[in-house]
Symmetry: C2
Subunit: 345 residues, 2 copies
């Protein structure tokens, strides 16, 4: 069995441990931020952590009303721009804590007046040293090159940050995430069976909106790095503004389809894809009765409020990518041309 | 001949007209913004206009030091988040001025305290009516579904906005953009010949960094909507964080490679792609002597400062997409499944 699969299975435990370890520190941060709330938030990350940052962008804007941007690292590292960063909260996310450009962005932001937070899996990393406030994912060592348990751990910490920034999120609800994630894992065999069908898939598109937009990026990244599938990722709205032209009959499309505000648009998108004879596969849960009836739906056996879908929803996608890599005869733990710590500027 | 090709050729004239018409209005805006500069900028757009917004993000941050974010429309339209927008300048970009969600984001931003700017090709559009300050692309009607002349017109207006926000950009330099763009157009036959080679290309990756990152998105969009190629787009740094695993021998890679701060990283990327036996095609100019020596380089016959490359550099990409569509027997003016005005929420 692959390390990636082991690590996918560890997620309920990692979430539980990460939540327990950060309850105290997050209450302290909440006190500090409530006295002096930021006017603006900047997230910085690369790779899977950047997908977590994309989730953070949606979560923080939706639940706190503070404008958020995702940093473009080259503006700091190559163009050496000088910013006006008073009132800015800069948050860096990195599994290893050794992502060169992410760390440099955080240092520059700090030097230009921002407060800084680091989210990492490694307490002795450079990121943990340079950030003013550090929140640790307690994932243990992540051995597979394709990140799984650190992604969901990062998502959980972003919920906690939203809470610290005044979002009306209950810690008791977050405490149920390990259980919901365990429910996702019960689909392991079903998903392995479904993945067989895609043995010869060479390209695909992954769609998600709102809080699950980041999951579309993360699922696509997993398909690219472990299965070598050319995987596009869009919000369904962006797909309609041009790229939909490339979809032809049998084009594989994967969609995250929770109940809630994004469902009407997602349903329209599914209808449109069906017209184009694309082949859809949907990730949903029992709370979305309509989506759960779809012949090609992966239905998590739990009823979820949309706010809490991103962590349980990425699990079937991780399992799918791992299973498909195995079907294709690839080693999901060692993607060609990629190493665990990537240093870019 | 296609309308798309006609419109690509019109670009020097459109740029000239757009610059002349906006010199007065931009000086007025400059006076206003210098008295009361924004603390934060939010850009909102969809499709090709969103690629222009991506360029605006880099240009404005690099040249003004004001943090910029690209709006996530669903946060306004579906989640109905309430923002704290005092001191924010909201800029909407839309060819038609009738993009439902873009307009709604701008109205919500205005209602929550932001100042607003609209960039559009249509003076009688909804966007022109709702924005406090309006800057018009003088492109005439754009008939091809694939936008070309309005994209470069939008880029020009973003340079003018940077000027109005205090960037040290000389209007005299901007006045040379029509001429530089005309130089790009002299490559028309060369590019048509090169496109033949790609007749059976089914997927590709387009890479650009910094000021040309948006061009990577725009080139990929043109390949998707006019040639039905599954075109990925990344910064070279992001490609290294996982997706590079999907590249195999003969994988077509297109790169924008100006001289300047992004060149060392781009050169490393080209070397890496060569190792992987991917097939590269580079857009550069005579100012990048090293890149211009590459056997597979499209070399614009002009020496450009990186700051001014994005408009002249997208022209060969537009010509390439148009030529390739013709080679593939497709009508570049009427992509399947796409209409000129796309209304999404």
């Amino acid at each position: 069995m692959s390390k990636m699969r082991d690590e996918i299975r560890e997620q309920p435990t990692v979430l539980e441990r990460t939540l327990q370890a950060n309850r105290g520190p997050i209450e302290e941060l909440r006190d500090i931020l409530q006295r002096d709330p930021p006017r603006f938030i900047m997230l910085t990350a690369r790779g899977t952590s950047d997908n977590a940052a994309q989730f953070g962008r949606y979560l923080l804007e939706i639940t706190t009303g503070i404008p958020v941007t995702l940093a473009a690292p080259s503006i700091f590292t190559l163009y050496r721009a000088r910013f006006h960063f008073e009132g800015v909260l800069a948050i860096a996310i990195s599994q290893s804590g050794e992502s060169t450009d992410t760390n440099l962005v955080l240092e520059r932001a700090r030097d230009q007046g921002a407060r800084t937070i680091g989210i990492t899996n490694h307490s002795s990393s450079t990121l943990a040293r340079i950030a003013q406030h550090v929140f640790l994912v307690h994932a243990g060592r992540e051995q597979a090159v394709a990140a799984t348990k650190t992604y969901t751990g990062q998502l959980l910490l972003l919920y906690l940050l939203a809470y610290a920034l005044g979002a009306s999120i209950e810690l008791d609800d977050l405490a149920r995430l390990p259980e919901w994630t365990a429910r996702s894992l019960t689909l392991e065999l079903d998903i392995a069976r479904r993945a067989e069908r895609y043995r010869f898939m060479e390209h695909a598109v992954v769609l998600g909106r709102g809080l699950n937009y980041a999951n579309a990026f993360e699922f696509a990244l997993k398909l690219m790095e472990t299965c070598y599938v050319v995987a596009e990722r869009f919000s369904s709205a962006d797909l309609l503004h041009g790229p939909i032209a490339m979809l032809e009959a049998s084009f594989p499309a994967f969609l995250f389809a929770p109940a809630g505000v994004t469902w009407p648009g997602t349903r329209e998108m599914i209808d449109r894809l069906t017209e184009l004879q694309a082949e859809t596969l949907i990730v949903t849960d029992t709370n979305n009765v309509e989506a759960a009836r779809d012949r090609r739906a992966i239905v998590l056996p739990v009823a979820l409020d949309e706010l809490f879908t991103p962590i349980p929803y990425i699990v079937p996608a991780q399992l799918f990518a791992e299973s498909l890599a195995e079907e294709k005869g690839l080693n999901p733990d060692q993607p060609r041309a990629v190493s665990k710590i990537t240093r870019t500027m």
